[in-house]
Assembly symmetry: C2
Homo-oligomer: 207 residues x 2
DNA sequence: AACTAACTTGACGCTACCGTCAACTTGACT
DNA sequence: AGTCAAGTTGACGGTAGCGTCAAGTTAGTT
């Protein structure tokens, strides 16, 4: 099953093609590249649920070719999610892992993740785990999640967030935010950021 | 079009049926009652988007009969929404309109609406305006909305909420909450209520 | 008990998407 | 320039829901 799976990784290399037994024919390699590009654009605009037919026609191929090359939506997501949100997600986690004031780090993490959700619909799908069978997406989210848990714990130890706040509360807040971005018209940046501040102020220790 | 529309209102009265020209035949009146009951149960369990076929079979009729008697989903919603959420919504608004401490009244309103959302999926649809063409639903939500706006304004005058908080922020918070209830597994009551407290604490004036 | 307007419904066509396959086309090697 | 494995695709069948209508059934009247 899933014949050409794995083909998406380094289809051509650069110059010298040794023509390994699993190498793609030139037309197929071209299609892989076009499909990837179309998928990235579509996922960026509409999220990971974009109809495959739409991506196929944007890539100038038929829907069946996506199945041939990537094995379906899961495989296609796996092939582009790193480029789409992986780098950003990692940089957010890195930044939050830097030494510094626990509250600042948590606030930065929340703000950065909310910003990513605002800019990138595909990131919303990652956080909502809308396609949990995709290994890449799962890994991506585990990364963010582990970081969030650590930050909440450290903030607790420093006493800078209310005692009854749990890591899951943080996750649910991000989920609710993602659902709003997914299902409602995008708020203006001003409004969105202000609401982010309300969230952060709500989790500090009682006055 | 929509032949039997309006039939849902007082189909039988009580005893003396004067057989007005628009009166329903006995079998039709029975079906109306069964459909209403099935719709109330279904909407309560699954929200206003429950497939009509499901409601029809629960009522022991065919889907087409719902169209005959109520003119479709809109009409069906109109026929039961009052019983489903109207009374509760009005009581929440009443309670919030009582004289008293502005903060207490706002907090009560938020808590009550969140509680209603938790208990009644149909109320979530009302707040999300998932079926905006339904006059009843619209009226219901206008009621709640107007009350919310007034409460926020009064709280501002009393200086008990942060100056940058808007009525729309309140609405968006309730929407995000409704979306979470709609699209994710229901949290436990403890967790849900705690998160409601975070929300309220986040909108008080800065420490 | 015959009549007929009111009523019900199975079956249909429609939308929008998914995933598959037999038949065709073509790149690459000889 | 011939061969054929690799590759592509149009067309299909499946899911899940909506809204409609011709044909059949029945309540209520005479």
């Amino acid at each position: 099953m899933t014949p050409g799976a794995g083909a998406a990784s380094t289809p051509g290399g650069s110059g010298s093609a040794a023509r390994s037994p699993t190498a793609l024919r030139a037309d197929a390699a071209r299609n892989v590249a076009q499909i990837r590009a179309a998928a990235i654009a579509a996922f960026h605009g509409r999220g990971l649920g974009t109809p495959l037919e739409e991506i196929a026609s944007a890539a100038g191929v038929s829907k069946a070719t996506i199945y041939n090359r990537f094995g379906g939506r899961q495989g296609l997501i796996d092939a582009v999610i790193e480029e789409l949100v992986g780098a950003e997600m990692r940089s957010i986690v890195d930044r939050a892992g830097q030494p510094g004031d626990p509250w600042e780090r948590l606030a930065t993490y929340v703000t950065d993740l909310r910003d990513l959700q605002y800019r990138e619909p595909a990131a919303v799908d990652v956080i909502l785990m809308a396609y949990p069978r995709s290994a890449q997406v799962n890994a991506q989210w585990q990364l963010g999640r582990a970081s969030g848990i650590a930050l909440v714990e450290q903030a607790h130890q420093a006493g800078v967030i209310r005692a009854d706040f749990t890591p899951d509360d943080l996750y649910q807040a991000l989920v609710a935010n993602g659902l709003a971005l997914r299902h409602r018209p995008k708020p203006g940046r001003q409004d969105y950021d202000r609401r982010g501040r309300f969230l952060l102020d709500g989790i500090r220790p009682h006055r």
